[in-house]
Symmetry: C2
Subunit: 531 residues, 2 copies
């Protein structure tokens, strides 16, 4: 018996396009006893409030009919929303639908998580596939093994008759710890129940969310007997005879943290552009590490000729800021322009003089520089249709070190979920074979260059300390007190935690941030008004 895993990059809401991808994958898998797709494959994941539109569900239903008809001879298991016709509970189920020779069987997700639309199912799901009983589970239905006792119930525990194979249709977003965690959760599920397990995950970027694929099959012994690549589409068939394999060497290999993050960000940028029909990007190049990193990632994702750098020096800019910025564009082969901000900045000073009179230079004037740059780079974006990439990082976003409507402009934040120390590390990863990002940029002390001789460390602790505190507070939800107990300086910790606490209003207005950590700010939802 052969089973096919279809790891596909779907577009949210593109029911017709996704339908065609499903049919194409099915047709190249003739002879398989089952072709398994990912969670909500038909509508793309996450569909969010598109589910609230009646015609959206109607169109899903029509597409299912068409798939059933055109793939009549190929047994398929696809993900789609289906209506709850019971008259009780929420209007939809998050379902897996088995289609074969006019037969149609619907399996519903139990642990529906956060959505407004899905009713949790209460029946167990057994698909009779030839002489095999297959347990059909969706996403988090399987996540209840491991150290965290608060994870949801494992669906297999509910089954009265023991299945012979577990299938899991997933749309499990990427973070740099996730692949290893997921593999162990699934392995332990297979081992606990002594059943082979087939896991199919979505791949691709959907705005801020990145899905990494990494679909795999576990045999009886809990080894990965088949694994699909990360960050790439693949349709791949295996023979169930492999279930008894004890080959350890074919275990899923997980790339290093920096390789994962790199590939995730490149895919995230590429899909953000391709799926919206955009080709060209623009960004401000300061000569600093963040913009040098973003242009390198964007050049990789979109091609260097499609990424335009804009240098916007001011009177406070160092000489090396310009030479480093030029080097970062030229190393990659990206076009660039130099647009000094002096004229614009002076115009604002003159315009505001009657109101500001002789009040001293303060953060207002720093912001005026950042905002003059924002206006310039947005004008270039408007005029030429290049999408503006934001270059701020997670350390800055955490403590509010950045200017709203200035350097925080942009349609997509590329490295906004990387702490500065991680941005450094990623630069070194990119430069592992040769200098792509200028070493001088990587090695000089970070500075916003908004006043004479400014350094980031004038107002912030050194990044390794800052980032360690931020990681404890944001990723691990530790309070200031708990962080101090670990040996960090109390004054520093309290200052940092207070800065995080006070800057939710700024983060609220940020561009979508490509999510690569276990706790991106978009998922941390914090009240803006609080005490």
């Amino acid at each position: 018996m052969k089973i096919t895993l279809a790891q596909i990059n779907f577009i949210v809401g593109d029911i017709d396009g996704n339908k065609e991808k499903i049919i194409a994958a099915a047709q190249q898998s003739k002879g398989s006893s089952l072709v398994v797709f990912s969670e909500l494959s038909l509508c793309g994941f996450p569909p969010s409030n598109l589910l609230g539109y009646t015609d959206f569900i109607d169109r899903c239903e029509k597409a299912i009919d068409e798939i059933a008809e055109r793939c009549d001879t190929i047994p398929l298991l696809i993900g789609a929303p289906v209506r709850n016709t019971s008259g009780k509970g929420k209007p939809l189920f998050n379902a897996a639908i088995f289609l074969h020779q006019g037969k149609r069987q619907i399996f519903k997700k139990k642990n529906v998580g956060l959505t407004n639309y899905f009713e949790p199912a209460d029946e167990t799901n057994i698909l009779q596939l030839g002489c095999m009983k297959v347990a059909v589970t969706i996403g988090e239905d399987l996540y209840n093994i491991g150290e965290d006792e608060f994870l949801m119930t494992n669906r297999i525990d509910d089954f009265e008759e023991k299945p012979e194979i577990i299938v899991n249709l997933a749309a499990d977003r990427f973070d740099y710890q996730r692949a290893a965690k997921r593999r162990e959760i699934l392995r332990m599920t297979a081992l606990k129940h002594e059943i082979p397990l087939i896991y199919v995950n979505q791949v691709g970027g959907n705005a801020n969310l990145i899905y990494d694929g990494g679909s795999m099959v576990f045999g009886y012994m809990g080894y990965v007997i088949k694994s699909l690549p990360f960050f790439k589409e693949e349709i791949s068939t295996f023979d169930c005879e492999l279930f008894i394999s004890m080959k350890r060497e074919d275990n899923q290999l997980i790339p290093s943290k920096m390789e994962l993050i790199h590939d995730a960000l490149v895919l995230g940028i590429r899909d953000f552009f391709q799926k919206q029909g955009f080709k060209k990007a623009v960004l401000g190049l300061s000569g600093g590490l963040d913009s040098a990193l973003v242009i390198a990632l964007a050049a990789k994702a979109l091609g260097p000729e499609n990424v335009m750098g804009i240098l916007m020096p001011s009177q406070y800019s160092s000489d090396h800021s310009v030479t480093d910025a030029i080097a970062s564009a030229e190393n990659l082969g990206c076009p660039y322009h130099i647009v000094p901000i002096k004229t614009a900045y002076d115009a604002f000073e003159e315009t505001l003089k009657p109101i500001f009179k002789d009040l001293p230079f303060d953060v207002t004037e720093e912001n005026l520089q950042a905002r003059s740059r924002g206006v310039i780079v947005m004008a270039i974006s408007n005029k030429f249709g290049n999408i503006l990439l934001n270059t701020s990082n997670k350390s800055e976003a955490s403590v509010g070190y950045g200017t709203l409507y200035g350097d925080l402009c942009g349609s997509l934040s590329v490295i906004g979920d990387l702490y500065k120390t991680e941005a450094f590390e990623l630069c070194r990863y990119i430069n592992r074979d040769k200098e792509i990002i200028p070493w001088h940029t990587i090695n000089k002390p970070p500075s916003a260059e908004l006043r004479p001789d400014q350094k980031d460390t004038d107002s912030l602790p050194d990044y390794p300390i800052l980032d360690a505190i931020l990681y404890q507070h944001i990723e691990l939800s530790k309070s200031a007190e708990e962080i101090v107990e670990q040996g960090y300086d109390e004054v520093v910790v309290n200052k940092v935690v207070k800065m995080v606490y006070r800057n939710d209003f700024k983060r609220f207005q940020l561009a979508p941030v490509l999510a690569i950590s276990p706790m991106p700010f978009a998922m941390r939802e914090m009240p803006i008004v609080k005490k």
Copy 2:
């Protein structure tokens, strides 16, 4: 037997402050057999991811101990998160806690809705109060009566023994339809079970969310025998003898839609400022209706002396735009400044000339004007510490008629959940006794004045038609096809729906919007990348 309803304005996360408010309310209610507070009163609602911090829950526990001790003789029912110690499910319960003379009884919410942290309770909640059995329910536990069969299960149906009173601790956000819906849902619950019902709602603004209070008591006959005001704190005691009252005249009176919206927005602005320790606001005054409405609302909320208007005329500004803007500030007694944008705009044109060369005037130059204004008004905000109010409306936000980092700047969007036609109506409501908002502003054709003789209707349908289509699509989740079936022009509907669909990226970066409709964009969560 006397029972007290404590309708209080809590601050999210301010456990100490909320604790003191609870204790003060309790102490002025001595002699009551029960003092009822709103849902999650101790931590304020919604606490969001503050619940993820261990020390936050620790501090709640300590505060509960202190309340129990200091109010020992007064029977209280407060709302707070409590730990789930069962080792299964999510880490917390959303609970009501009864405190009296060392006794402590915990009642848990069943229908916990969307949160990440709360495990739904599976036991029913009976509080023995003297000889009375009181059913303790929280928020949506009661919402299952009325036309919508998909609303959640009504908790009272679960109870094995019939209670003699129903109590509901709520934090039910305001929308202009909500008070009437809520009153009918609660009335039908009381009638169905033939039990008196006590409903206590939170009051106050928390960033974009507004809670309207309107707590009330229903007698056996389903009449409101006691009602507390909307949008105000009140602690009020009634005698349970009233339960048998048949007085119709004391039914809760619900103000008109415009009065509700007006009072909600004024409370929303005031609490946004007060709870964060801000006093002063600033906004751009264009001479148009939106900014005239916002300055009137802000002057009411903060005092006219605390609201500064900035007029930023350009070469395309009409004469009346300046005179109307001045009138709107002077009518209220607000300070204002005139800051022409010509110098800044010309500086950007000059700066960009080497790149733009002779490319024609397009949306880039329109945006340059809006963004020059954004920079100016943000600089004034930074220099003087005035918080920038955003003045865009929901019609604009829907179709993307507005400039990111330009007129979309601001820390709080005041009328971003009002369609333009509703903004007109609210102006007329404010002017019902005398001219506060200049009538000329209200009566002239809307224009962004970003190019010569521009009118909104150059690129948009008339507002009454536009808003009717938007309401169908956004509030009622109707597809383009369904809207056309109602008799609207197909070309117009398709154009409008497409504009809504394409502008999620803009709405993503908006300031928090005071929510007054049943479907504010913040709750409509849509994928940015979609097809």
